[in-house]
Symmetry: D2
Subunit: 321 residues, 4 copies
Amino acid sequence: MNTFGRNFRVQIFGESHGEAIGVVVDGVKAGIPLAKEDFSKDILRRKSGAKGTTPRIEADEPEILSGVFEGHTTGAPIAIIFRNTNTRSSDYKELLDVPRPGHADWTASVKWNGFNDPRGGGHFSGRLTLPLVAAGVIAKKQCGFTFHADLVEIGGETDKDKWPDLLDATAKEGDSLGGIVECHVEGVPAGLGEPFFDSVESLISHAVFSIPGVRGIEFGDGFAAARLHGSDHNDPLVATKKPVLAKNGAGGVNGGITNGAPIVFRVAFKPTSSIAKTQKTLNIKTGEMVDLNVKGRHDVCFALRTPVIVESVAAIVLAGL
Amino acid sequence: MNTFGRNFRVQIFGESHGEAIGVVVDGVKAGIPLAKEDFSKDILRRKSGAKGTTPRIEADEPEILSGVFEGHTTGAPIAIIFRNTNTRSSDYKELLDVPRPGHADWTASVKWNGFNDPRGGGHFSGRLTLPLVAAGVIAKKQCGFTFHADLVEIGGETDKDKWPDLLDATAKEGDSLGGIVECHVEGVPAGLGEPFFDSVESLISHAVFSIPGVRGIEFGDGFAAARLHGSDHNDPLVATKKPVLAKNGAGGVNGGITNGAPIVFRVAFKPTSSIAKTQKTLNIKTGEMVDLNVKGRHDVCFALRTPVIVESVAAIVLAGL
Amino acid sequence: MNTFGRNFRVQIFGESHGEAIGVVVDGVKAGIPLAKEDFSKDILRRKSGAKGTTPRIEADEPEILSGVFEGHTTGAPIAIIFRNTNTRSSDYKELLDVPRPGHADWTASVKWNGFNDPRGGGHFSGRLTLPLVAAGVIAKKQCGFTFHADLVEIGGETDKDKWPDLLDATAKEGDSLGGIVECHVEGVPAGLGEPFFDSVESLISHAVFSIPGVRGIEFGDGFAAARLHGSDHNDPLVATKKPVLAKNGAGGVNGGITNGAPIVFRVAFKPTSSIAKTQKTLNIKTGEMVDLNVKGRHDVCFALRTPVIVESVAAIVLAGL
Amino acid sequence: MNTFGRNFRVQIFGESHGEAIGVVVDGVKAGIPLAKEDFSKDILRRKSGAKGTTPRIEADEPEILSGVFEGHTTGAPIAIIFRNTNTRSSDYKELLDVPRPGHADWTASVKWNGFNDPRGGGHFSGRLTLPLVAAGVIAKKQCGFTFHADLVEIGGETDKDKWPDLLDATAKEGDSLGGIVECHVEGVPAGLGEPFFDSVESLISHAVFSIPGVRGIEFGDGFAAARLHGSDHNDPLVATKKPVLAKNGAGGVNGGITNGAPIVFRVAFKPTSSIAKTQKTLNIKTGEMVDLNVKGRHDVCFALRTPVIVESVAAIVLAGL
């Protein structure tokens, strides 16, 4: 199912090279000011065109079909669509025989008995993160918290000055790079979330792993916590005007419930699966190993475009708590 | 809400020092052989008593109240309870004033306006993982896959021979250790899961973060994937009797859908929050910083008891797909 | 699935002649005073023993396992069980061959491939309405509205003075009677519910049809509305201190949303299916038509016991809005 | 929330006089043949224009945005929109002060603090049943059962020959009429549904009450069952090639589970709320009682257009079982 959320609910739909992609956002409070322009900034942050990203440019113009009246949300579901304009669906038949490594070509075909739309990954395309960003814009308004996600590492390199050269070199090899995004959510009051299944970490990780290409998530000290002593990892309360935490090794959550410190988590993105470089893989029709050079327009490092997506899904979670 | 799952659904309840803890498992197929004895092995794996674990010993005897008739599941919901016998609820009043760092004492109290049961962490206690394990036993039977979770690291140490000394030394300091669990699920056919929100990684991470003390999760190459090139991380199909993957950097999932390779993920557990060692923290009543030495019986490294819990929540996910 | 509700959630379990039946109530607010005694009145209203009801008497003593601490709800899920004591499971094997007309014996067996617990209807038993009543007690406290359900008709007879004779005569014939329950919910503010799928009528009817033996439900003017003119059925607002409705043909709901008038609905219960009178039916093993006289202890008119159940399921709905 | 269904899920959106209305249908099996033309027949059955229905004519042309590729469903969510063309939004401001009796004008405004779109009922409009019908077309294909719903009564009159005169006379008075729809679903195997909360009656009634204007629903003998003896209402099995029921007083469902007989239910629709005839009602701004003559184009008896809607929501339920 392509739905997320209990009280703030997002339903996405669409295919990379179909008519349109879109989202229905339900559970939005009435009376929130909302105009088309509110989407521009976040949509632009996700856009391609910069170094390391695909040259496929889409207009990415949101069309609000419902749920907004006289500049405010009405309480009814908000449907937003984005027409696909820059589609090229000619070359997909090849990948029916030679599924691209790292893509969902093969698993989608197994799951849906070959009826899946294979053009550009179809419904599995990263293009579907655009409606997620649109939903995120509404979610951010509803919860009112501040979201800062940033790419902190590309291909293991944390020094941003070195990224342009790294991207250039990798592009030249026809290869790709992954990255790590760190997200801080500020202004979250203590007491949100539930113990166990609806813990804040459960919900955020659920939403984050819905972004194509995520390989890991960690909160606060994360995997490093497993190497610390309890006396180093524990966050004691300290005396100020109101109780606050001395440090934030837990990433803002204790027992699944927010503790008033910023929610902090990091997300690992794999390198782009589509690479020009030759890969040996299987032709599933002939049963023979073949050389594959993935054609088309691809990001060298799609993680560059993901910080706003990470913010968006976190906002979708928090708007519903 | 303390429920997880759409078609295989688990509802847990109970408090550490209350009458009983338990679980209702709904969506179980009719006709699965099930007896009390089937729970013994996994419950034993979770049990304390070994080096590095708490000396609080509970009988952990499952009482099956419903859903089983003449040795088989009936299709109706299965309710299982565990009576709490070895409870000590005298000393909790102290921690109302001085919430233990790293615990949910304070967030639970904020969330529930001070009406939460504070004894031993109440509903937030790790003891609630016992019903999760019971549900996992049923889930494993229903899905029929093979689960192998193992602790691969304690306090940064991967050499198991060195763990006993490490645990002893840490116990002597009144401190605690975290650890990393690696889980392999074998026998999973290709085609399970959904794109986006109900991706296998989304569902498993959701369930895993419901285990108290989890700080991170990664699938396949995980965070390391963010440092690889696409040509190294991609898993090409190779020709055998049926298409299989040459390697498993994706951890068994592409585009949210299983690809027939084992599902592989690693979970980072924080060090036990309750430590004997002195911690400076806040008395929220007086507003003064105080010395806290957490009393009671605690695990030096509760991660030692978690592999079976990790298997259980993964099984709960997979039984519903 | 045996779960109902999004934000106030009820999970029932158990079988008529099993160990215990019970309910887990999740989403309960913290701080509601709750003691065992609070359940007595409603449980007594559901109880058998009066004229027209079965002589099977159960203790119906609720055992609260979790979610209550020092006399108040904690915010954690509340599990309540009722031990089955007065069970007789000897004679069920007969009805495996000759399913009782009007019962779920046959459909349960088809659904669960013969693994269902057949004793006394197993999980399909009306005895499962007891945990519903327990959940209703909590729900009533949470929403704070006033519920009045009453039996207004037995076997087509609306004059209550004539009911004792009617019940006696029907019992003598070994037959049974149905009835109609009318429920009023007062104190409901305007603005609850949603348009379309989560309309108040949708949710209440969903919950009401989960009571075994319900054949129909109508709100306000109900089926009679279909025979009225719009000018008679419409409820105009009138001027008082605040706008109120001049009449209540809509039963308190417009467009799925409460309008501040009492919610009014009527529920039709079928006659008890188990009758002593001879019925011709099929022996599904032999394929021959046989005479069936249902043995055991049964209500002549189980509708007599249902008003409190109707109130309970309505409360379960409204506690979640 | 405007979502219905667990495994076959429908999300509707839109307003009567907004950009577009639509639906996202999720959980559709891959490989079902589906073309725009498949929607024509059912959309036409819902259309206005016949005697007794509104003269507002919309093109009602479905635009399939996703989920269909080369003439077959892909397994991905299917989004369908209908542009609103024939909108008139000038006169709505009047009804902000004088909410129309029987409509959601007032409750919508209370619920959404006056931010609801009031034009033509906004999101509460019966026009939203058009996407329900579109979803129903897909649902019917997925479940493969046969649906026959028919209007059996208008304003209490069951003789269809007398309906034209009745409609004319009522229109002349500026008044409106209700009606009763009877629906038969054939080809349903035994064993679908669940006991209690997910009983077939619970789910169908939930879906049916999401249709604006429904006042009651009954299954099989319905309210009449409450006036029968058990010996008359019970449906015994009889011997044929496979066990079948001698009669269908239960309407095809026992214990919440289908029994293989047709599912039969009747739905009561209220008379159209919008009438030209003068109604005394409240001006909520001035607090004075005023004369209201509802303007616009309305059905004398909107129940005439509902049989296909009733079929659709039943199909939506059954496609998910």
